[in-house]
Symmetry: C2
Subunit: 395 residues, 2 copies
Amino acid sequence: MMTEPPRGFPTEEFAGRLARARVLMAAAGLDGLLLTTEPEFRYFSGFLTQFWQSPTRPWFLLLPADEGAPVAIIPSIGEDAMRRGWIEDIRCWSSPNPADEGLSLLADAIRDRMGPVARIGLPSGPETHLRLPLDDLDRLKRALPGVSWTGDADIIRQLRMVKSEAEIAKTAHICDLVSDVFERLPTLIRPGMSEREIFRRFKIACLRAGADDVPYLVGGSGIGGVGDIISPPGERRVGAGDVLMLDTGAVFDGYYCDFDRNYSFGSPDDAVRNAYRIAHDATAAGFDAARPGAQARDVFHAMNSLISKALGDEDGAGGGVGRMGHGLGMQLTEWPSNAAWDETEIAPGMILTLEPGLTIAPGRVMVHEENIVIRADGPRYLTRRAPPEIPVVAA
Amino acid sequence: MMTEPPRGFPTEEFAGRLARARVLMAAAGLDGLLLTTEPEFRYFSGFLTQFWQSPTRPWFLLLPADEGAPVAIIPSIGEDAMRRGWIEDIRCWSSPNPADEGLSLLADAIRDRMGPVARIGLPSGPETHLRLPLDDLDRLKRALPGVSWTGDADIIRQLRMVKSEAEIAKTAHICDLVSDVFERLPTLIRPGMSEREIFRRFKIACLRAGADDVPYLVGGSGIGGVGDIISPPGERRVGAGDVLMLDTGAVFDGYYCDFDRNYSFGSPDDAVRNAYRIAHDATAAGFDAARPGAQARDVFHAMNSLISKALGDEDGAGGGVGRMGHGLGMQLTEWPSNAAWDETEIAPGMILTLEPGLTIAPGRVMVHEENIVIRADGPRYLTRRAPPEIPVVAA
């Protein structure tokens, strides 16, 4: 097991992120970025709290393109915690206050830092959203008639896709912890347990091993394969002939792993054994393709071709997932997508999941998932590779 | 301990929710509602999955105001799970596909059900957001030039604020489970443990007791009171003279509790003892005020007046939280707010938190929180009431 990496980041890391954002803002002709979502707010401020689960209060981070300091406009409930971080210009209002939910403060900050006429980027592209009521966006626009609002010119995506060594260490750590739990899982469960009980034991084992939380744990069980890969566990009792699959996003210091493991209760039949091997081989093909200079779609095609050839069937690949892996970091899924349409260039520092899947029989899928980091000379596994044959739980 | 209530809801419950929404849509002159966020999608469809943590794919639920059936427009990865629910008109696309992320399907569904000219409501008010990239909202508007987009006329808020008996049973169950864990906590921890270790033990105990998950667990410790109430646990070791506070949102079948408990390590000093009693008394005052026909602000004023009088100081109340409790259900925090500005009428079926807080000393706060349900003849506690004196952990 690895040593636990340090929590948080040195101030230089945030200063570097901001400096890179400024170069890109200048190139895009933006006077600033306005961020409203948790990962973006945290990426530049370091502010980590589960309080974002409450939808009541907006949080704003304003990044001026010039040398002016970033401004956090936040509910006063967050002030003490925020002052422990590196952001110095913190402006608070007593929230909730639907009559003026931080909008006057925000408008003032924009006028202060950028003047009455400015071009401000809001993340607006794929996999983003605005964490602000639509009515409040309208109010903000009316309060700042000289401001033109536009997308973020892909700046956030470009920055967040390439991870620092400190970020990689956090994901590597949670991948290592959870790999260990997956390896020990057969000793923690037995036939006749419900899916719910198995998932509970897995989650407790992750917490004991040092995961901060296990926000994502889905999967299921079924004779000869699982039916879908996004459902919560049910009361079904797992026994002989079943395939059990758990797919988890556990976190350490705000960084996710996202991978799965499959188990056979009793000896697997040939269809399961074969599907598992194909998915395992496809993962290896994806790994080999995930080199700097390749594109995300190349990683997809490497996995998809192997599966299609093995099945002699174009339609069997994928299992309805729409892609075969994705970026990973502060969120369970991030850009890019290992998909036929994604031309994102693979670069050192990216963390990706490899997630090949195939249909074993109607309504029965087999999905594998591993996490990798891209280095200058090629990929490295962050997860401990799944065994080449499906692990068996005595049944 | 209670028996575990059944999971899910009967179809009639969803049909009733839809029928009530239709009455309100007709009154507001809306041809339909378009929902994009997890609680809203789940409220009308019953679809429960942690997959929403992935920001990649939008999910849409279209509720026509007329007798037409609701339409779910969803990524194909969700199709199998969705077909196990009560929604029959399910339309899927292979997602992610940023070139057309479900928008053509959605636009077709709107044209099918409402014709080319329609008035569609999007939740746009306080505590809402649109879970869709801004660029895609623009595309949707361009694809449907005859559609006028407006707010949801407060329909979602009105419906969700009043809970059904089945919903109340789920929240009551998780409140009961977690009350039990809080009562046992002093036997699970000891002086010298770090906050992180204490929080981990608490979380594991909740999972063992039958919580599905503990998505929210914040708090901290400090000599004579805690510093803020939204931070994650740290490495600080808790010992003599400390107040320890844990505030948790655990879930059962998609419904939250949200309450906290305070502990003193060793005998509390007078300031802590006194602050605890004031917060306890304020909770009782809030409880007494939370009767059908009162307003949310009355509940606030009952708590706030008691605290202000006890402190002889208007400014000591609240501790920067901005309100003294809120609605609770599918989300950790929901409408209304127990705040001076909130005129929402308290009605039977509402679930509220009572959350009075006060400043003990600069940077030291004491916050209590209980969960209640409103009945025709008055409130009932769903949490097992905190003891009237701060519980002591031997130190």
